[in-house]
Symmetry: C2
Subunit: 301 residues, 2 copies
C-alpha cells in the first residue's frame, strides 16, 4: 500500500575530511522517500524554493515519487551546511542552516493523500508534522522521527505528537535525551510509555534495537568498510522500514524484523555515497543481494 | 579438551553509584576461569598472597578449576579498586592498584599443563603472558587478551606476542588504540595483519564483531536491564568463548558463531552481580535457557 512521507526537502553542502560537495539533494523527506520508493509508491509532502534544481525533481520522479504535494514557493530552498570528522561519523557539525521557504510553510495534502494508509512524519518541526497528521484520516500506521533540536526546544508539542503515533524512530542519543535513561532498553521502555507502541532505536554503526510490549529484538549494522557521507542514513533507514511495512502490511515479529533488516541494508548503501548518490542508483536487486550477504553475517548457525 | 587460563587473580574493591563492595574475587584469570569452567576443565595459572580468602579458593575449586599452578606467595594479593559511573558502564575509573605478589612473579606450570591443547592468556603484562606461552608445547589454539595500559606502555612485547597467538580478543577502544583505525572492521583487519588469524572485538552493550580471512560476523549484546557491576565482563566473555571452543574443538564459522553466542550469554550474567557473584551460581542450564531467549532476540525470521 502507498506511503505518505512528510519531511524536509533540502539542498545540502557537505564536507568530510576528504571531500566537499555543494547543493546535494538532501532533507529528511527526500532521503526517506528515495529509500521507501524501493518498496512502495511514495507521496512526498514538503516545500522547495525556486532555486531547487530540476535534476533533483527529475531524480525523485524517476523513483516514482508523487510530488503533487511538494510546493515550489518563491524564495530559497531550505539549505544545510555540515561537516564530519572521519573519527566520528555519528556527529555532524552544522555550519549553517538557512530555513528559506520552510519559514511560514503550511503543508497541504491532496484529498487522495488524506486517505493513505501509511504515513511517515520524517524529521521536521513538530508543528509541521502535526499540521500533516491533522489532515490524514484514520491511517493504518503512523511513524515519526525527530531530532535533538526539537527534543530540547519543542519538547511539549513533540510529546503531544508521540501520543498520536504508532511507531517512533529515534537514534540512541535522542532516545537518551528524551527519556533521561542511559540504558537503551530502559530508554525504549520509557518511550513506549510516552505513546508509540513500536519503538525503533537506531545506533548507527552498532545497529538497531526494536521494542514493543510483546517482544524486542536487535541487529548489528551492515559492515560498511568505506563510509563517504552518513548524511541521511537515519532517514534512509526509516524509509526502508516504512516502505517495507507499507508494502507488506503485517506487524508480526517476523515482518518487523524483516523491515529492520531491509532498513539496515538501505542505510548501508546510503553512507557509501555523497548525499543520495548511492541510493539514487540502487535497485531492489542490489538490496536483495546485500540482504542475503547480511543474513550470513548475522545469522546464528 | 582442557583449557589452560593464565591471568591475574585479584581482590577487587568496587564502587558504583548505588553500592560499594570490598575484597571481591577478581582478576582476569579468575573471571575467565569461572566462565570457561561451565564448558570444560580449566587449569588456572596465577599468584595470590597469604591474605587471599579461603572462600575464593573454595569457590574456584567448586567449579572444578585446577589450582595446582596458582602460587600462594608471601605478601599481599594483587588488589584493584575502581569505580563506575552508571552513565558509562564501559569505563572503569581506577582508584588504586597494588601489585603485591604480582611483582617479581615468575609463572611455572606443571608438566601435564605444558601439553594442554587450549591456552588463553587473559589480561596481564605481556612479559608474564610470554613466560607462560614459552612453556606450552604445540598447543592447538592460543588466545590472548590485553588492555590499554600495555598497548601504550608495552607495545613492543605485545606486538611480539600477537605474532605467536591464534586468537586475539580486544574491546573496541583497544582495537582502535592498537591499530589507529576508527572503523572497527578496518581495525579488525589491521589486527589480523599483526598476526592472529581470529579476531574478536568486544563492543560492550553493542555486542561483538568477529573477523578472520574467510568470513566475519557480528551479534548484538544480550539486553541486560539492570547492570550491577560490569567488572570482569570481558574476561567472562573470553572464558565462555575459549571454554566452548576447547569443549567442541571446531573452528568452523558455525562453531565460532556459537562460541561467541555462549560468550555473550556468560558475560550478560556476569554484569548482573557484583564481582563474580552471579557467575558463581550459574549453571549450564541457566546458560542454555538464556541462549534460547537470545536466539529469538537476534534471529532473523
Amino acid at each position: 500500500m502507498s506511503l505518505l512521507v512528510m519531511g524536509t526537502v533540502a539542498l545540502d553542502d557537505i564536507e568530510t575530511s576528504k571531500q566537499a560537495r555543494k547543493n546535494l539533494l538532501g532533507g529528511s523527506g527526500a532521503h526517506c522517500a528515495m529509500s521507501a520508493s524501493l518498496f512502495t509508491q511514495v507521496h512526498l509532502v514538503g516545500i522547495v524554493g525556486e532555486d531547487f534544481p530540476k535534476r533533483h525533481i527529475a531524480l525523485l520522479r524517476s523513483k516514482g515519487v508523487d510530488l503533487s504535494s511538494v510546493e515550489i514557493s518563491q524564495g530559497r530552498t531550505f539549505h544545510w551546511s555540515g561537516a564530519y570528522d572521519a573519527k566520528d561519523w555519528n556527529t555532524a557539525v552544522t555550519k549553517q542552516t538557512e530555513l528559506g521557504v520552510l519559514e511560514g510553510y503550511a503543508p497541504r495534502i491532496t484529498e487522495a493523500q488524506k486517505r493513505l494508509p501509511y504515513v511517515f512524519l520524517a524529521n521536521n518541526t513538530p508543528d509541521l508534522q502535526k499540521a500533516v497528521l491533522d489532515q490524514v484520516r484514520s491511517p493504518k500506521l503512523v511513524g515519526l522521527d525527530s531530532m535533538n533540536l526539537w527534543i530540547t526546544h519543542m519538547r511539549k508539542p513533540l510529546l503531544g505528537l508521540l501520543k498520536r503515533v504508532d511507531l517512533f524512530v529515534a537514534n540512541d542519543r535522542e532516545a537518551q535525551m528524551l527519556t533521561g535513561e542511559q540504558n537503551l532498553f530502559s530508554a525504549a521502555r520509557a518511550l513506549r510509555k510516552m505513546g508509540p507502541r513500536l519503538i525503533v532505536v537506531k545506533k548507527g554503526e552498532h545497529g538497531v534495537i526494536f521494542f514493543c510490549d510483546e517482544f524486542c529484538f536487535s541487529f548489528p549494522a551492515f559492515p560498511v568498510m568505506r563510509v563517504l557521507d552518513p548524511t541521511g542514513a537515519g532517514d534512509t533507514f526509516a524509509g526502508g522500514l516504512m516502505g517495507y511495512l507499507a508494502k507488506t502490511g503485517r506487524l508480526t515479529r517476523a515482518n518487523l524484523k524483516r523491515a529492520c533488516l531491509y532498513a539496515t541494508v538501505c542505510a548501508s548503501f546510503n553512507v557509501e555515497g555523497f548525499g543520495p548518490s548511492r541510493t539514487a542508483i540502487l535497485s531492489v536487486k542490489d538490496v536483495e543481494a546485500r540482504l542475503k550477504e547480511f543474513l550470513v553475517f548475522i545469522q546464528p548457525e
